[in-house]
């Protein structure tokens, strides 16, 4: 096997989103996974980022402010009476 340039931890943390998104080229992906297999710090980091994504996914989207909704429904009724 060819000696490939190893990723440093500082480089790896910049690739995590590309890794999650399946946007790394196969060789890059292999380097990423090789590093991860040997590095507990980066493994933790990737776990933290995954936990962040799922925690953000459990946030409630902001509700529509009541006055905005009231104004929109009124506009909708006006529009409806014009169609």
């Amino acid at each position: 096997m060819n000696q490939v340039e190893q990723l440093s931890c500082r480089e790896l943390v910049e690739l995590v989103t590309d890794y999650f998104e399946g946007a790394l080229a196969p060789a890059e992906r292999a380097r990423f996974e090789q590093h991860l297999a040997a590095c507990s710090g980066c493994t933790r980091y990737v776990e933290q980022l995954r936990a962040t994504v799922s925690a953000v996914g459990r946030l409630e989207p902001e509700a529509v402010p009541p006055d905005a909704e009231a104004a929109l429904l009124e506009a909708f009724r006006d529009w409806k009476s014009g169609i």
Binding site: C9, A55, L59
Partner: protein, 216 residues
Amino acid sequence: MEAAAATTARDDARIVAALRAGDEDAFRMLVAELHSSLVRVALIYVPSRAVAEEVVQETWLGVLRGLDRFEGRSSLKTWIFRILTNTAKTRGQREGRTIPFSSLQSPGTVPEPAVDPDRFRPDDDPRWPGHWASAPAELPEERLVEAETRARLDAAIAELPASQRAVITLRDVQGWTSEEVCNALSISETNQRVLLHRARSKVRAALEHYLKGDEE
């Protein structure tokens, strides 16, 4: 993917038909689904929350007025966000705000490390250049679901630059696909990933800081 697109097209046709028929509940549901995302995208172009809310109101009026022109060549969502973006850009210019083109269209030009560089050993480190000096610890899983942690996450997202905040909101809070986000914001996949990466990295750092700080 094609099946998903077909489902979207069918749903869109149903929603548009309901709106054209004057179905108020259909309108209310569509507003509930998209309003906060619209506000966050508007904030890329306009300076304040109050102006963003006005832009979104104007957008909905534009949606209703333009409904007869909607032909389903793009998804309903994409079409609505195009109207929003045009409205917000016009309003932003009127407010004297220079459009932050670079933050959305070429976010990669300004480097922004995902992790504080002090967390790594220096490049001239004799043994482990660029490796962790202070490695991350495991996050306490049970704390992640606490209301206080959720409030911290909301606050961390609120503090992000507008384009990063919009992308993480659409992708991770609302669960949109990257394709939907690219279409809604008219940005490339690459730029979408850069913005998402920066947003997630900062929110992770805030989360780590909060959970660590609390344990001490």
